[in-house]
Amino acid sequence: MERTSSQELQDDEFDPQEHQACYIFTPEGRNDRPSKRRRTVKSKGKQSEAEIALEFSDQCPFPVLLNGSESEETVKLRYEAYCRLWGEQEARTNAILDSFNNKTLDDVSEFVKNATAESYDGKIPTALILAGPNIASHTPLFEQLASRIRDEDRTGPVVVLTSKDATNLKSTLKKLIKDATQQDEGLDDEDDEVIVGRKGARLLNYDLQILQNWCKLHEGQKVIIAIQDTEAFDGNILSDLVSLFSAYLNRIPFVLLMGIATSVEIFHEKLPKSSIRLMQGDKFDVERAEECLAQIFNDSMVSDKSVLRFGASVCDFLLERYRDHTQSIQAFVGALRYAYMSHFYANPLSIILGFVDDLVNLKDVLTTEHVEAIRNVSSFRRFVERKLADSDIAEVSKLLEDDDHVRSVVAVSAAECRSYAIEVGQALLVLEIARSCQANQTRIPRYELYAKALSGELHGSTPIVRDLLLSMKKMNSSSLLNLLDKIAAEVQVPYLVENLLPLRESIRALVEQSEETGKTTLTSEFNVTKSTLRATAVSKRIWLGEQKSSLTKQDTEYSKLVQQVHDAAEAYFGASLKGLQELFLHELFFYDLISPHRDVFAPRSRSTVERALSHPQDYLGCDCCTTDGDDEEAGIKSTQPPASIIYQLYLESGALINIFDLWSAFYQVVGGDDGEDCDEATAQALFYRVLAEMRFLGLVKYTKKKTDHLAKLAWKGL
């Protein structure tokens, strides 16, 4: 039936043109020519850049939220808040990134300045730059190096070569010569002199004599060749280049900079010994990426300058991804930016963030819709429930009914949220400083503790804090004073200033007192070792008593002060390190939506494709394929798409698949019991198409191992 109809259709639509060798194709319904794209707006070219910028700022890329009831003005405010806050954050981040490599840059530029072939036994001066395995950071590093050496030091032209430039020796040399000779201020008249050889014949463009002539014109300039990714560089080309450089070294003062991502040993294995013999120099370490991460994290999450911060789960996700997968600062910064973007893009309440420093005006901006949205926030619910628990009924009804009241509460809570974030940051800083003063503590950077602190897992009785407090008790006077000095110098927390500084003064007085008797440090009585070799309980007690009695009067006095310091610190940590769950409006200040980040930065492409093929009903949502909850093992159905049927058959087969077996299994499914659902020709067409699709997906390939067989290439679940 189907067949005849399709045949009829074909007969009807027989087009004589299809049998001509050449004809003009005119698509139907489009008889008139499309209007030519002419530049209708002529004034655009004349428009000044400022005007264009203005035009762009006028059209706000953010959508209207709150079911379209958000006013245009607030959308614009949201966009402006995003631009301003992210702009500030980005400037700070870039400043950190720029200054981060300063030490390495200094060292390398010093090396380049001093490098001459004579001081290295006639070998090429070579700096091995150990840049770490994070490839994304190499390009900025080498750009910084190049601009430093070229523009600030003016040591000479810098040519940065990457493995992409180096497909063969000739093109590499061409690029090298071009880059090196055109870097100075583009003096056109001398170009000819450079390229033309001694006898007036033009030199070939890959002839290093061009560079030699250039060097003659520019006395005292060194030619710095920076090879960014030595590992990926073709080994033969690299050794050819090195031997060429060494041959010309007496005429062109080359300096080599080699970027190494793995280790010097691997670099040495890559090149032949004869090339290694031609180089001599030093190696330079780039700061570890963790340091950079810590700095950026401290700036963007812990410092009091930032407004939007990560919540615990996003933070955990990003740090884990950093540690386990990428080790890339750039990825972290990208995630930070994405958090800013999606927060301001999709959350209408994010305008509140724009008014943190200007809470008075906030009330005028929040519309009724905004207030309604605030009432839908989950932390509002907890807030109200807490009020109910306090049986503050009047307040609750006001919150639920009076919009103006909510506006004022929001202003107060926003300030609270901000001060909470700052407090947590300071507490983490104090914790880090205190831990750094103790020798036996391993260093845990702030970014490891931040997420714990937010989720309320870091409090007075967690091991990290408890250990710290206990060892604080055992400190002798000099190290305790050192610790207090450091804390006083680094943080300005009113609570600590009030409580700890007087204690510091009295400890200092006590130490001065005891110095008169000749004892410079006071020991705390808590430091008396409890473990002894004494076997019996009585002798142990006697021994401990002896130890205690050896403490002087000042020591006892000091111990009391230590106890006070300990109590103050404990109270401080207890007060400032509490979770954010109790906080009203914490959703606005702590971005904690993990799924957008996961979908964007770590998508699971493979399992998605596999699931779509093996369980198409999950994506199609059609009635025919959806099985009931009970019989999940229903398996292959003829209603499923053919690709999915073949894929499921494919999963059941071995490494080599007999095509005929596959076909007969497929036809059995598609054609029903005796070919009633689908005739053989259609099924075959479908089968061929699906096989081609499987090949495109990289699941099968033709094999020569066995005739009429396909090789299975992919397993499920990898």
Binding site: P133, K199, L204, D207, R323, H325, S607, L699, W715, G717
Partner: protein
Amino acid sequence: MLPDELLTDELLSSINDRLPCRVPQLQRLSALIGDDDDYSPASIVVHGLEATGKTLILKSFLESSGSSFSWVPCHECVTTRHLVERIAATVSESIGIAEGATSSARCENVSVLAVQLQQILKESQRKHFLVLDRTDRQREAPPTLLASLGRLGEMIPSLTVIFIVSVPRPRFLSSAEVPHIHFAPYNKEESIKVLSKYVRRITKIPSEGDQGEEEEEEEYTEDDAKEELYVWEKFCGTVWDSLAKGAARNIIQFREAVDKMWLQFVQPIAKGEYGTRNYSSLYLLQKDMFRRETNVIDSVIPAAAAGKMAASKNHDLPYYSKFLLCAAYLSSYNPARQDSLFFMKANDFKKKRRGGGRGRPAKNRKIHRRLLGPQAWPLERMLAIFYAILPHPITSAVDIQTQVATLTSLRLLTKASATDVLEASTKWRVNVGWDYIRGVARNVKFDIEDFIAE
């Protein structure tokens, strides 16, 4: 065997003074090059291993005998055309032809070169020598290049082409009668003799005891020089016997080794603790130096400086990258059919095999797999092993693929087949050795030894 009058004795002895132990080669050179009236062959081959003085001696001979020659270093030329143009330019410059004569035509291949050289050399009455230094290091040389360059001398009577090569293939100029001059490698005595040309001074280091006498500068007398030469020669001999004989036979490497060790060796003399004549006791004191091999291993960073920097920070790979590397290593060095034995979660298979033991030893003793080099594997197999060796399950995300790409661009993994990266049948291979992998595996607390096939 050579007529004596060919040797301009004065000249030879002056060269010999600077560059000793090369008298026979010099005599042959002077016989073949001679002066302008003598006949010179169309081409000469000068051959000998690296650092045997070929270039230096030929150059100084040509310079001091006042012959007309042009010198073309072939290893500086990237292509044949580059070489040919360089030859034309150099020859015309050394002849001093007027400008404009050659610049009209570009020299694109050897035939054009022959014509141009004929024009250039037409007027000159003297013999001209064209020296092609390191001919065998010319890149992209077509097989006929050398032979055709050799013919230049036959076509132009006043031209002689001298090839400097390290090891000449038989009949590489496609003609039999080319005279060869061989520069044999220096043996021990000769090496020491050559090195005695640059004796390094022993700078006295005033010991802390006699600070007062510091002002009194000691005159550098002839006796001192003699003593230094004595120690130097003895020292060179010791270095040769202990290290250089096996590891640094050519003169440059030998000199480098001697240079590196000298200052440390003579430190006791410089401090005045030892005299110059009791060499044997000095040797006993410094015996340990000659046992270590650090001074003959080539490295970009000098060994002395490397020691200082040892305690620098090391950069780490991400956690899962390390496991990926381990998985890659295992897939390269384990046979694929044993994968189920090592990586199946169900352990019964393993037990059965172990209990049964090996029935009979393999007939032909197999070579250890680690010695056979890494085998190629498809990506799927490595990923399967990766998920099997992980201590805890993870969901596969695009990050794993990114890390494979990163490891490839770091050349810790390499692509083993010429197909596209995305093709599923593309094979890969690990590119690091056992020592590196063991360090990586220990770092993530993974007992890789348990998974390696014997």
